[in-house]
Symmetry: C3
Subunit: 322 residues, 3 copies
């Protein structure tokens, strides 16, 4: 993914125009904003948590918003831009590049799909499609569904009715049931009295092959990174997946489960109904989370947890006997 | 708010026609039904819980449904109507005034909006608008959205797609994401075998300036009072707010949180994902509620709670160590 | 219900064609697949859990998928088909009879309703109706609602806007609020790496008279059995009811409650907000479940439970005091 096709980008900007306290004789061009692992030469990234040290060491970004403490882990060629609150400055500078990504204005260019553009797609009624939408062969789209500009849908998919898809790349053989809202802006903002500062969401939702998503689910797009659902993962109804969450392959996520932002789940996870996973956690492979559990810590591979807060199953059973 | 513009009101009625056991030589006119704090002369109110004693003492209502025990707190000019079950009688009498407010018949007068009435509003496709809807300048409305009669929307709002708005007054700079259902009848009824008695919902949803509401949220209108969301409060996806709930300013309410009816939340509250708040509670200012918590008691200003049932954070941590 | 009107059935098949290891000189005809209690002569059923022993003893099915251990409970006329994994084989054979029931392809035959077919029904705008839909008199349907083929709706119902109804039989005086998705395929599959095997869902949703369903609820249809909501049961917003769940009469189910598959609830149950009920449980009559509780065991008649996992109220209160 070298180009962001969902949002219009401004710039390039001079580094000294973006950050007034950066003074240099050289004119540094900043072309885009990306995560540590995705950024390239002339691009700006950010590094705000020691957890991401391994990505920081390997970043190819030319510039990085960070703190005095963390800057030492960056490669030598990467110019650190030291700030007090990395996310605040990231928010401000991202808005300069992407002024339209912090509020989800509905796509007013939507139209009924032209059959000539989608000759091998089956459509229900009253479907609205934006510019540059691509839908591969043998896919079927239900009625009243809205597919906003630049969304891409693979082949043999079954997309239900009354769905909204935006800022999303959807693989092959994907099933999405009625009422889902996918690719909307996530719940990210800097709290400020009387006027919160919304975080631009320039990421996407990426749904891999053979995924199934139940009715009335919500999957928010990423802020800088993407939100991802791995191959053959199945979600039940009313699941909520926040921005930047990455779920692996072959997972089973039951009804009304909720994920807070930026958590990562491995492969083959099985998550019971109404369980909740806090933000910024790392859940390993082959993990089982009991229904109704509240996960607030990382979980290693192969562990089964239960409870609120969730603990390993043996401990949960022992606690119950007290 | 002197007039209920959302529901047709019958009457005025004679007090003795409404309550057969009230006998008097004078002909008392009853013009409307309102809450203790909103009722005026010639209007009927109700007082069923000692918690509302301060409102009772100051009410301007001429008549009040109440109990033998509570009637002593009413002002002298207010005629008490003593009943066994205040809510049952309130339900019956409210139905006489507002026969159409106990079931949400869809607005069958909906039409495509005439551009001449909304010259400074941007519309998506297939939008339906009822009679007397007002939408201020620079507001944008997404596709397939339904705005029923008498709803008012301020300026600079972004209302997404596949939304239903009814019985709602919406301020300026409000963002509502796709799939929300706002202003519907709440979950209020007197349980009766084989035929529950539905409570008329004559209240509104009032959403103040700068509010943001995530995707697929539901916010029910008030029964007699209104449901209110204060300025600059942000709600994440799939939040459920029941009838009569009042949420203050600058609150942050994460995904899948649920409020039961009539609870009141102060300003600057921060509520984690999947937390639940029981009915008729008073949550103070600057309160933090941990994700997944179940709140069943009032919370004073500045307190952080967690757990099920939710307790102050220190106690929660101590309990965990047992 | 002698015939499945929602899905096209293939067959009849010879028993020896369905199960290659069944060898017999007689040609056994298999006409359909049904549950133990609904199956009749020449029909195939399944018996995978000792819990269903009473239904097994009384089944009228001619053939039954089961295990070596369970086969002894079947009537003598019922030919047992012994397999290792009953549900796997059931899934495979059900797909042979009903090849279209494992993915919810949207109904592409939807059209605007002809007034001549529904002369006593009131319609909003942009409604889509499939073939053979029946709607009785004095029912009102909101805008943008989709009613797929063969759905039947009784009289005096109020069906809101932006709803999807499929594979459902709906009684009289039923109220369904906006945004509900009812009758979709449930969350049932045999997990297989890279290609889960979806369970065909050939059951229905049956909603009895006087039921009310809040906004944005999801009610999945049954897999082999039906999903049922009993008379005069009221559901609040964002409730999730999985496949095969049966809820009795006069129940009260608050917001965001979730049921996993195949649980059965008696009459007069009262379930608080955000409670969860695990799969395959039996909840008695007159049961109360506290808000936020997680029910993982059967509950006998008249019991009040609370907590996670839910325990009888007295025990819950005692545990709190520890």
């Amino acid at each position: 993914m070298t180009k962001n096709t969902f949002f219009k980008r401004k710039g390039p900007f001079l580094l000294s125009d973006l950050f007034k306290n950066i003074q240099s004789n050289k004119k540094f061009n900043v072309t885009d904003i990306k995560s540590l692992e995705e950024a390239n030469k002339n691009e700006l990234t950010f590094f705000d948590k020691i957890d991401y040290i391994n990505f920081a060491k390997l970043t190819k970004a030319s510039y990085c918003l960070t703190t005095e403490k963390l800057k030492i882990y960056l490669p030598k060629f990467c110019i650190p831009i030291i700030v007090k609150n990395v996310l605040f400055d990231l928010c401000v500078v991202t808005k300069k590049f992407y002024p339209d990504a912090d509020i989800d204005a509905p796509d007013t260019s939507l139209k009924a799909p032209k059959n000539s553009n989608f000759s091998k797609v089956k459509f229900g009624k009253n479907i609205l499609v934006g510019k540059n939408v691509s839908i591969a062969k043998n896919t079927i789209i239900g009625s009243n569904t809205i597919i906003e500009h630049n969304v891409s849908i693979g082949q043999n998919c079954v997309i239900g009715s009354q769905i909204v898809l935006r800022n999303s790349l959807i693989g092959n053989n994907v099933v999405i049931q009625d009422g889902c809202k996918i690719g909307l802006k996530g719940f990210g903002f800097i709290p400020i009295n009387d006027k919160n500062l919304r975080f631009p969401h320039i990421g996407k939702v990426v749904i891999k092959d053979n995924v199934e998503i139940g009715a009335n689910c919500t999957i928010d797009r990423g802020s800088i990174n993407n939100t991802e659902i791995g191959q053959n993962t199945f979600l039940d109804n009313q699941v909520h997946i926040a921005h930047n969450v990455k779920i692996g392959n072959n997972c089973m996520i039951a009804g009304q489960v909720g994920f807070a932002g930026s958590s990562v789940v491995g492969n083959n996870a099985s998550i019971g109904g109404q369980a909740g996973v806090s933000g910024h956690l790392k859940i390993g492979n082959n993990v089982k989370i009991g229904g109704g559990s509240g996960v607030i810590k990382d979980i290693k591979d192969g562990i089964t947890v239960m409870g609120y807060p969730a603990v390993p199953l043996k401990k949960f059973i022992k606690n119950q006997k007290k």
